[in-house]
């Protein structure tokens, strides 16, 4: 038996900081906050185990904190109750994905919480898959958007492989919400999801991302330790098995484009490689970076044109036109090597060589004024315009099965 859900209403202006640590020490932190802590007058829902019931009641009453009992006996036994728990959670947190601030930059914890909220609010459409762990042991999550079927052809999107490119993770969060908002409302996205699955990895490099928040805003690489070097990290976009180790990457561990000791040495990369291989039915793969406003297709490691060069170029042209139609934002497009620079061991060169024909990389806003430090007021406009380009690619994928 899980316990009791208390709804706690603050009458006295006690600060959250003041109350909760005390409560925590009092009942050994076995409280499960279902909602809040919010502001002063926002009720907080707390799940209290039976063992702690008496202590919590005494604490609340002696501090004149008004409470009411919402559910007096939460049962738990099997899957049925797990569903029940989920539904209850949904009921008591109905507004969280709606009140989430999409126009600001978030921490890793906030984004991971968002994912859970999104899944909880849309259990029939979204699920969360752990595809591995980062070097420092953080879980690596992918959101799966699916309306059913078994291993349907799929579209893969990833953001945040380079941790300092904050506009990408922020856009990824927005894309996730956009998908759930559009299903059943936008005919095109609905038909995409009725035929294909979408996988979205929002924080592809969680160690790097945490580091950009705590220590170095300009950190790009993973946080793996390099044998024999004081320098940390491997460039996850040089670590793939496509032209690995060539000139378009560095063999120096101190370099920002260090390719690593061998292909897929990075857990963050290996996790995706394993997922893609075992899935076997991914039809489009889009990896998102910033900045310089580009839409790129293979190859980066060679100037030899990809076999599907013309088709990819046509898709890119259409996608860029769609993007531009919203605010006039100008993108260039072309193969990686001609448009940006030679890059060896890059993600989409590998995915393309695996047979995923519609492999693209974006470099989002801007063109250099703010660079990695893009103001938060550009998050939603960037995400919105990019979405139009993504829809173009996804629609094309849906309409051109192979």
């Amino acid at each position: 038996r899980l316990g009791i859900i208390f709804a706690i209403h603050h009458l006295i202006p006690l600060s959250i900081a003041g109350v909760w640590p005390f409560l925590c020490s009092y009942v050994l932190c076995q409280l499960d906050f279902w909602r809040g802590p919010g502001g002063q007058d926002v009720p907080i829902d707390v799940q209290v185990p039976f063992a702690s019931l008496q202590a919590v009641k005494i604490f609340l009453e002696s501090n004149c904190i008004r409470y009411s009992i919402l559910i007096d006996d939460l049962q738990v036994s099997s899957l049925v109750d797990e569903e029940q728990t989920q539904m209850i959670r949904q009921h008591f947190m109905p507004r969280s994905v709606e009140t989430f601030n999409y126009a600001s930059y978030h921490t890793l914890d906030e984004i991971y919480d968002f994912m859970d909220l999104l899944v909880a609010a849309n259990p029939n459409l979204v699920s969360k898959i752990q595809i591995g762990n980062s070097y420092e042991g953080r879980p690596i999550y992918v959101l799966k958007f699916s309306t059913g079927g078994t291993k349907r052809p799929a579209i893969w999107l990833d953001t945040g492989i380079h941790s300092r490119e904050w506009i990408t993770q922020a856009s990824g969060v927005w894309f996730a919400k956009k998908i759930v908002d559009s299903y059943g409302k936008d005919p095109s996205l609905t038909s995409i999801l009725d035929n294909l699955d979408i996988f979205l990895e929002i924080v592809t490099n969680p160690d790097g991302f945490a580091f950009t928040h705590t220590t170095n805003r300009m950190w790009r690489k993973t946080k793996s330790v390099n044998a024999g070097s004081a320098c940390i990290g491997v460039d996850p976009n040089r670590n793939w098995d496509a032209g690995f180790g060539g000139d378009g990457a560095s063999s120096n561990p101190c370099s920002e484009t260090y390719h690593g000791p061998y292909a897929n040495s990075e857990r963050e990369v290996k996790a995706i490689v394993d997922f893609v291989k075992s899935h076997g039915n991914i039809k489009a793969f889009i990896s998102i970076h910033s900045y310089t406003q580009l839409l790129l297709y293979p190859y980066g490691y060679t100037s030899t044109r990809a076999a599907d060069y013309q088709e990819l170029d046509n898709i890119a042209k259409a996608a860029v036109a769609a993007l531009s139609s919203l605010y006039g934002t100008q993108y260039r497009y072309g193969s990686i090597i001609t448009t940006i620079y030679q890059a060896n061991g890059g993600t989409i060169d590998w995915t393309y060589n695996q047979g995923i024909k519609y492999s693209f990389t974006f470099e989002l806003r801007d063109t250099g004024r703010y660079g990695f430090l893009l103001p938060a007021n550009q998050i939603i406009p960037t995400a919105k315009e990019t979405w139009l380009a993504l829809m173009t690619i996804m629609e094309y994928t849906r309409d051109h099965p192979y």
């Binding site: 600001s104 930059y105 904050w166 950009t212 805003r217 300009m218 790009r220 460039d235 378009g248 560095s250 370099s255 920002e256 484009t257 100008q330 260039r332 497009y333 072309g334 001609t338 448009t339 940006i340 620079y341 030679q342 890059a343 063109t367 250099g368 004024r369 703010y370 660079g371 990695f372 430090l373 893009l374 103001p375 938060a376 550009q378």
Partner: protein, 275 residues
């Protein structure tokens, strides 16, 4: 014997020198290649031209950013270098509004440390407004009794405090000098962040700032820390001294206008003969 060889040599020498006299390199004929406007080297060269322009204009209110490359041609001059002929649109650095078109040549010479730039631009922004904005910043800085200081501009979230925005713009102008100097055909730069700004209160007419900036280097992706000293009086060439952590000594801008490395005219008035 010697006089005979000299006589034979004479016309030969003249023949060799003739192309040089016309400003062309030694034969064989140069390869001229039209580039796609999305070509990365064309974009890179255009940015170099703008670094040079922003430095030479020396005006925080007149900074330009690259809009789009409209036309690009590359001439290879064997043994000497690569010369880019470019036409591109520009945007106001602050507002992103289109402010005119430029024609530029960017010459990456094998034996010179920095690219030689010639650039002519049309300008649709109000020159009077620019001068007023510059002077207003200048006056404000001259009136400071306590030196302006600041950190992390923009901050992690892209915010720039309005009061520090002109100092940031001056850092862009100063960094433009350094980015022009450091640029090669394959190495390009963006100013990623001002880590630190400190004003020096001076008794003379200029305003004087110390900056620590971080440059983003392409394609290496390295973040280069540089120290910058910028001395400015509106209407005068910017004086810049810099020291980047990968270097061993300070580098300094020349005083006075017109260096052999390039030139710039305020208003575009040439025909597009060489395109």
């Amino acid at each position: 014997m010697q006089r005979q060889s000299a006589a034979r040599l004479g016309p030969l020498l003249l023949l060799l020198l003739l192309p040089l006299a016309w400003g062309k390199g030694p034969s064989p004929p140069r390869a001229a290649e039209e580039l796609q406007v999305s070509n990365r080297l064309a974009g890179q060269a255009a940015r170099v031209a703008l670094h040079y322009l922003n430095y030479r204009l020396g005006s925080p209110s007149a900074l330009r950013a690259l809009g789009q490359v409209r036309k690009a041609t590359l001439k290879t001059i064997p043994g000497i270098g690569h010369k880019y002929y470019l036409q591109f649109t520009t945007e106001d650095y602050k507002s992103s509004l289109n402010v005119g078109t430029c024609l530029a040549t960017v010459f990456y010479l094998k034996r010179k440390p920095r690219p030689a730039v010639n650039i002519n631009c049309t300008y649709t922004k109000d020159q009077k407004q620019i001068r007023e904005d510059d002077y207003s910043f200048y006056k404000k800085m001259r009136q400071q009794t306590k030196p302006i200081i600041g950190n992390d501009i923009p901050d992690s979230y892209g915010n720039i405090e309005p009061a520090l925005e002109p100092a940031w713009a001056l850092a862009v102008a100063g960094s433009s000098y350094l980015m022009w100097e450091k640029s090669t055909e394959n190495l390009g730069y963006f100013m990623a962040q001002v880590k630190n700004v400190k004003q020096w209160i001076t008794k003379d007419d200029s305003i004087d700032f110390d900056y620590s900036v971080v440059l983003h280097e392409i394609p290496t992706q390295e973040m280069i820390s540089c120290h910058l000293r910028v001395i400015w009086t509106p209407g005068h060439p910017l004086k810049v001294k810099y020291f980047c952590l990968s270097e061993n000594q300070w580098s300094e801008s020349e005083e006075g206008s017109g260096t052999e490395s390039g030139s710039t005219n305020g208003i575009f008035n040439e025909k597009e003969a060489h395109f």
